[in-house]
């Protein structure tokens, strides 16, 4: 017993254990979200979705996962085997690494570094490399198309996304995500979407720009995670399945997992930046380490729900329109907001 405790107290072991928390979270969350998305989609379309496995089909995602696990893992003959195998893991690593700086609650953050959000943007860009790799290695024209589209899309949407983040960072004066959250503590009126924890005049001045930045970041985050209306890389009616056309079994499951994890990641960034992270909307009521984790997940999931809702409502954009939206609409607006915020913060 003592040995075990001593072993657990080893710094290296503690670190590994702490690092596993987000992984466990991702796995559980992915299962929940798959179920959630299917149910929301079905009810939007007047259907019921899973009903057979368990009560209202709740264990269906687990069954799906088991099915994917035991599927034959096909690698096409002419594929570039090394890259083909590497790609899904790279995508997942990029996503997983980003969770390191996520302030899950007031008491838990993987790594409380000062460059938090900067690191996050950098780490999540690794995903592009993985997607490109997957598309190229599959040796399939449709996959190739998907990969190129996704690379172009993610790279160009990072610009308005990062500009929006920049605006927020200017307001907070920090890139540390935990500090950002703490600055919004104290109830719903202190959230940045309302104008943040500032004097009333500044608050009122900030509010419209924050709202625009929020919309901009929301849209570019949707584009980054390849969700409708920006799901061109895997537009099934055009590109069959995009970059993961040739993947099957566990590798496909990892892509899927990374996609859902990414979805939560960007939702969480929105929550941290604009909606007060883990802080309770009622000031000190229902706050504390556990409650704050609850709030964080709840807020994150509501943005996941928004994403799902939009996905089953809107049609898909075309490649050139996608670029138009990014470069000609979101980027100028973001720049304008940054300038305005600069003025407000100086005054």
């Amino acid at each position: 017993m003592e040995n075990i405790l001593a072993f657990l107290n080893e710094p290296a072991v503690t670190m590994v254990l702490l690092a596993l928390i987000p992984l466990v979270f991702i796995l559980v969350y992915a299962l929940v979200t798959i179920y959630f998305e299917m149910k929301v989609a079905a009810h939007i379309q007047n259907r019921l979705a899973y009903m057979e496995t368990g009560w209202h089909g709740v264990i269906q995602p687990i069954a799906d996962m088991l099915k994917l696990l035991q599927k034959e893992d096909i690698i096409p003959t002419d594929a570039d085997k090394f890259l083909f195998i590497l790609a899904p893991y790279l995508v997942f690593i990029g996503t997983y690494a980003s969770f390191a700086v996520m302030p899950f609650s007031s008491g838990f953050i993987g790594s409380n570094i000062d460059l938090g959000i900067f690191y996050l943007v950098a780490a999540s860009s690794l995903v592009v490399v993985g997607l490109l790799m997957a598309g190229w290695a599959s040796n399939n024209k449709w996959s190739m198309f998907g990969a190129l589209r996704s690379a172009a899309q993610i790279v160009s949407y990072e610009i308005p996304g990062v500009l929006a983040i920049l605006g927020v960072v200017m307001v907070f004066g920090t890139m540390n995500m935990q500090t950002m959250t703490q600055m919004q503590d104290g109830g719903i009126q202190n959230w940045l979407i309302i104008g943040g924890n500032f004097p009333l005049g500044q608050k009122l001045a900030l509010f419209p720009f924050m709202f625009i930045l929020f919309i901009i970041y929301l849209l570019s985050s949707m584009a980054e995670v390849n969700r409708t209306p920006f799901d061109l890389p895997e537009a099934e009616s055009e590109l069959v399945q995009g970059y993961n056309t040739e993947y099957s079994g566990m590798k496909f499951a990892i892509f899927y997992l990374a996609e859902y994890a990414n979805l939560f990641l960007v939702s969480a960034i929105v929550v941290v930046m604009f909606f007060g992270g883990w802080t309770s909307p009622f000031g000190s009521f229902m706050s504390g380490t556990v409650w704050s984790a609850f709030w964080f997940v709840l807020k994150g999931m509501s943005f996941v729900f928004l994403n799902i809702w939009l996905r089953w409502t809107l049609p898909r954009l075309r490649v050139d329109q996608l670029m138009y939206v990014s470069w000609k609409v979101l980027t100028p607006f973001a720049l304008f907001c940054i300038i305005a915020i600069g003025f407000i913060m100086v005054i």
């Binding site: 099934e236 009616s237 089953w312 809107l314 049609p315 954009l317 329109q321």
Partner: protein, 386 residues
Amino acid sequence: MTETHLHAIKTSTGRTLRTEEMVVNMGPQHPSTHGVLRLEVVLDGEIVVDVIPHLGYLHRCFEKHCEHMTSYQQVIPYVDRMDYVAAMTNEHAFVVAAEKLLKIEVPERVHYIRIIMAELQRIASHLIAIGTFGIDMGAFTPFLYYFRDREKILELFEMTCGARLLYNYIWIGGLSHDIPPQFVERTKEFCTDFKKTLKEVNDLLNYNEIFIKRTANVGILPKDLAINYACSGPMLRGSGVDFDLRRDDPYTLYNKFEWDVIVGKGEMGTVGDVWDRNIVRQREMWESLRIIEQAIATLPEGDVQKAVPKRIRPVPGDAYGRVEGPRGELGFYIVAEDSVTPYRIKARAPAFVNLSVINEISKGAMLADLVAIMGSIDIVLGEVDR
């Protein structure tokens, strides 16, 4: 043109970039070719250079089959299966041709019921057309709303003739059954319920800004080109040609009802673009509802089986009968010899003719536009390949 071409592009920095055209096979197992069509697409990046449709994956020799029957009556289940999403219309077209050949006058009630059925079928078919078009655009939900209401039409059909998809309902000289007693009530109910869905999907899909941006000014089919390629139906009317067989060659009693021919006006872009073709379908459903409501209100009495001939043996000759199907002019040309089976049957399938224009209108479009154009042509491969 199937071999790829190498291009040398001078970049602004003075270097030469060698690019290559890429040939991709869209189909026969591609999700958005609406069946088993294979499109050989030559692409320059995302730009479509050339499209070559390859047909025949669903060829079932129906025209040939029809020559080896034991009676004209047996042809009807076969024509049902040509355009399987609008089987009533196929029967109607064949029956119109056969009645011309046999010189049969059918009672008025039969005409009315046929019109009701044909219009219900047109709505059902347009529902699929717009719904799947939405899927091509990435909007999955309107498809299921439309399918929900199409189910109600199929229930009406099932109630009337027992089958949901391939009806064998319209017979030469009459109908297989009279309409059941609840039919009138249920149809009226459907007409009122359906208007709600139509409005809803109109807002959700047709007037969605993304949808408009995706479809306006895409795949423009000019008036003269549409006529030259013998396009028909919503394809032709979307291009601004005011032509509808129901009005211009009134084959049953269509001229008794009050309704309008819908023509594309280029509201969102140019006349004859994809959006126009789609909105023509959408608005045609309103007109069909108008016709159905009028026909239901003035349905005459009569015996639907009265004019059904016991033995069909036409005098040698030929006849061409055509109707305005959901996809356009659907015609059957029958050559009869002195026998109980036709000597030759030729179907003029509108989807086949409309498809032929695809190469012309999709050159220079993007790959995603090609999918939109395909969806707006509204092909049914069962009819294209027969």
